[in-house]
Symmetry: C2
Subunit: 379 residues, 2 copies
Amino acid sequence: MELHQVLHMKGGDDISSYAKNSSFPKTVATKSRHILEGSIKELCRGINMKDLLYGKCWIRMAELGCGSGSNTLTTIKSFIEILDKEFYHNNNLNSSRVEVDDATALPSVEILLNDLVSNDFNLIFKSLPKFYQQLEKLGLRRLPGSCFVSAVPGSFYGRLFPDNSIHFFHSSQSLHWLSQVPAKLMTENGLSLNKGNVHIGNTSPPAVHDAYLEQFKSDFSTFLRRRSIEMASPGRMFFILCSDTPGSVGFRYLDQTLNDMVKEGIIEEKALDGFNIPMYEPTMEEMRWIIEEEGSFEVNQIETIRWNKDDDVKNMDQDPVREMYVRVTRAVFGSIIESHFGVGIMDDLFRRLAKNISECVENFIWIQDSLAVSLVKKD
Amino acid sequence: MELHQVLHMKGGDDISSYAKNSSFPKTVATKSRHILEGSIKELCRGINMKDLLYGKCWIRMAELGCGSGSNTLTTIKSFIEILDKEFYHNNNLNSSRVEVDDATALPSVEILLNDLVSNDFNLIFKSLPKFYQQLEKLGLRRLPGSCFVSAVPGSFYGRLFPDNSIHFFHSSQSLHWLSQVPAKLMTENGLSLNKGNVHIGNTSPPAVHDAYLEQFKSDFSTFLRRRSIEMASPGRMFFILCSDTPGSVGFRYLDQTLNDMVKEGIIEEKALDGFNIPMYEPTMEEMRWIIEEEGSFEVNQIETIRWNKDDDVKNMDQDPVREMYVRVTRAVFGSIIESHFGVGIMDDLFRRLAKNISECVENFIWIQDSLAVSLVKKD
């Protein structure tokens, strides 16, 4: 089965859902808001305000890999907040500025939510009437007729929008997902290069890292090329994705747990050999290098944002943190683990994972770095 | 509960679903295709081809009240077929025409599917990858990058799109649905004007027709006003909706069946008195009058398209036709009947309806007129 058919965060809103285990992207978004703000402000300064105010054009913002949790609409609210502030309150606009003395003169905004076709868009749509009311209550948007939310299903490694049609691309914690498991993790004879690991682990040979990096470079270059065709002039892009985090817990305990289950005959060795998680967390240097090599965009700003467990669970003792780690791992990686190993092992696997972690108190360092990146299209 | 929360065609794809009982809109669409073709051709002739071919602009088509059955994507296919034929094969283009010798030079098309937030958009999205493949096989569209389908949830009596942003509006068999049951069907003392009828029936006083027409005029004028703001220049609109059909079976047997159930004490009289179906089927004269009064559009073409049972069931004897009538009535009106009277009466009601119809062989005339209307925005 292809990746786009199985990859999705755990749906619904119970304690095991992604919706209830997505404080990480929210915290990182808060810590990097200054870069998002800068990026939107520069977008606004490049736009001919007269065109906007007389309805000749409207602003189109695409949210790539939007998911269906509460973070989806929160991001849109932030975008509109910053945009409106820039248009409505800020007096330092460029020379083509005209007086904006009425909220009805705000430019219309079309928000295009994108995710894979298996995403639960119906769930988002049902929350839209309430969302529009909230915007209005906040004094951000008068309705009807100034903010329009739509959905565009498909992979962001393919084409999603017409040429020159999007002013602002945004993506949060999605672009580290690859389009496929790197083909080069298997030799021509069908042997695994990455025995005993589900990702780049301590015992992985260098060729495993190279295969992942090569796949990421190819995917991310495709992503940039397609977005540059779709980007209107002026246009900006801002995204956050996971970055390599030395010393963190990573997939160490998941590796250990799956290997235990192989030893006990619960999982076949061949099944573990054939399982590799299709994501890559680039370093800042790799990110800069790939963007430069691809050539469509310039880096406007790039920063490492560190998240650690203390950000979200300041007053917890150690055990709830570990429980949360297990829940997050299941909410994020559960769908691809289940599609590979079958639903039968899932509860057992995550019970064992919890136990393994609670036995390793000393080594449990749960931090995760992200890169927050602001890009501008080259002329 | 508000209408947009309960009104939807019967989902799924079993024998009772709307998907399996929607041959009527398909047949009417086929019979009116010449008007749709004319409308799209005139749109194309008004567009500056140079702008399109050099990627400065793209064509946006909105499908209003799209539903989630097979007809949804069939309409889009027709639209693209006609559009591509006009751009690619026809040599009689206007003076700004440039040579189109390559399918990659076709203008990009953005298709915006609209329906109420309760519509099953996920179902449509899951069929999109196959739909894109079909387009490509038909030689209509090269992928990636020339046809983009998205969804815009919301009522078409509200605003749906930015100002001046849609080139072509299309709607099939949706615009006869009102935004609400006409308020004037009840007197100030809460008495029903329309006792014993669920719509405009033989025993309804003239005030009932007036209340329905007034609501339709108000709703349809709102619809036209909002679309005229959203329509780009040049722009066109084509829609099909049900029209008053003298002598047809209409709601006669549904009225009879519900009244029988009141007499037997299965349904409360008050419940029947308070139930009126929120749709209105205008005559051609009323349609012309409302469009003229509202003033934003001119009628380019308007035709009555007659559907009768023989169109779809040529080789059937009488009984299957009646069975189909009962199934269609349930698929289309089931959700609002159920939300008013409760799920408990549904099977009984439709069994009785079938029986009543089979006892009235002589009077059973199942025809339905539609209006096919092509509009152009006034300067």
